[in-house]
């Protein structure tokens, strides 16, 4: 099974974006039947479905470009953690609702800028996906913003938890803007996404009476296949059944 390093750059790029969406969809799927209100079960499931749809498109596309006969399921279920290219942000455990919402805020805001930039991509598949996805993630971002405001400026308890949630996810945000593979005119340069992201997130935090965290460390390595200890467990659960029946159709 070919590793990350042998993938054509465009396939590697699509895979990275696809892995982000796939792993986060997996995490959100864990919330089903546990959300704070039944209406939230619906909202989170909705977001998970959107992300899963993005993942499937991106993974399939990566497989097509690679031309090694791997389809979306081969890529999702048969790679080991060292071959996953998602940022570490999406693989950390859900924590409480505040941690999940904090992650949703920073990640959806990032995806919004990402897909907006990809609308102008020279690659038709990426541009086409972006056209659909940008509307989806605009909604995801809005959902996160509504909750950050309510938790940040709700009760003392919710404020404390929301701040703690932000403190926990913030160290993982730098990775979102690290330089990516050079695909001028096709990929979005992550550094260019930062200013708009920063502006959006900062203004929400301010309105929500929350402090922007100043972490003493930052995550590294996700795009190169170096992950947290959490990804292994997540993949065990996700992949186990598929791997137990090699070659089976589902």
């Amino acid at each position: 099974m070919s590793g990350v390093r042998t993938l054509p750059p465009l396939a590697a790029y699509a895979l990275a974006l696809g892995d982000d969406a796939l792993i986060l969809a997996q995490r959100l799927g864990e919330w089903v039947a546990h959300a704070p209100q039944i209406e939230e079960d619906l909202a989170l499931a909705n977001i998970a479905l959107d992300l899963l749809g993005q993942a499937r498109t991106l993974l399939s596309y990566a497989g097509e470009i690679e031309q090694a006969g791997r389809d979306e399921d081969d890529l999702a279920y048969l790679r080991d953690d060292r071959d996953f290219r998602n940022v570490q942000l999406v693989e950390i455990p859900n924590g409480d609702f505040a941690v999940t919402i904090a992650r949703q805020l920073v990640f959806s805001a990032y995806q919004y800028e990402l897909y907006t930039a990809l609308l102008g991509s020279g690659d038709a598949t990426l541009a086409g996906l972006a056209g659909k996805a940008v509307k989806e993630v605009a909604y995801h971002r809005d959902h996160a913003v509504q909750w950050v405001l309510r938790l940040g400026d709700g009760t003392d308890l919710s404020h404390a938890r929301m701040q703690a949630g932000l403190d926990q996810v913030w160290p993982y945000t730098e990775e979102l803007f690290d330089p990516a593979s050079q695909l001028p005119g096709i990929a979005a340069d992550p550094a260019t996404l930062r200013p708009a992201w920063e502006q959006c997130v900062t203004s929400v935090l301010s309105e929500a009476t929350l402090d922007k965290p100043e972490p003493r460390w930052r995550s590294r390595g996700g795009r190169d296949g170096l992950h947290t200890e959490h990804l292994g467990h997540l993949l065990s659960e996700m992949q186990h059944l598929h791997r137990t029946h090699p070659g089976a159709t589902w």
């Binding site: 209100q37 209406e39 619906l42 909202a43 909705n46 509504q146 309510r150 308890l157």
Partner: protein, 101 residues
């Protein structure tokens, strides 16, 4: 913890949802949901009542804000204080100290 305000126990208020499925049609009542405020009610309504992409336009109204008549009653416009969507006790704020209501 919020003092004297058992909202967690009381739950979010009830909203009625109206959806106009496509241009040219009128809004139709599709049901209700609970939300803490109008912004969340609109978003929840989109998730709950338009998951199949059915809705173009959504209205949400606090159930307590709706005034109604009831054509089958003895006098359909008899008592404005009675003219709520649902006749039963729990939708109205009973004044403190009011007994036997």
């Amino acid at each position: 913890m919020t003092e004297g305000h058992d909202s967690g126990k009381r739950g979010w208020p009830l909203w009625e949802v109206f959806v106009r499925p496509r241009r040219g049609l009128a809004h139709q009542h599709v049901g209700s949901l609970h939300a803490p405020d109008a912004a969340m009610a609109l978003r929840n309504a989109r998730d709950v009542y338009t998951r199949r992409g059915e809705g173009v336009s959504i209205w949400v109204v606090p159930s307590s804000a709706i005034m109604a008549n009831s054509p089958d009653e003895k006098d359909p416009f008899f008592d404005p204080a009675q003219d709520k969507v649902y006749r039963h006790p729990t939708f109205y704020d009973v004044p403190e100290g009011a007994k036997q209501l």
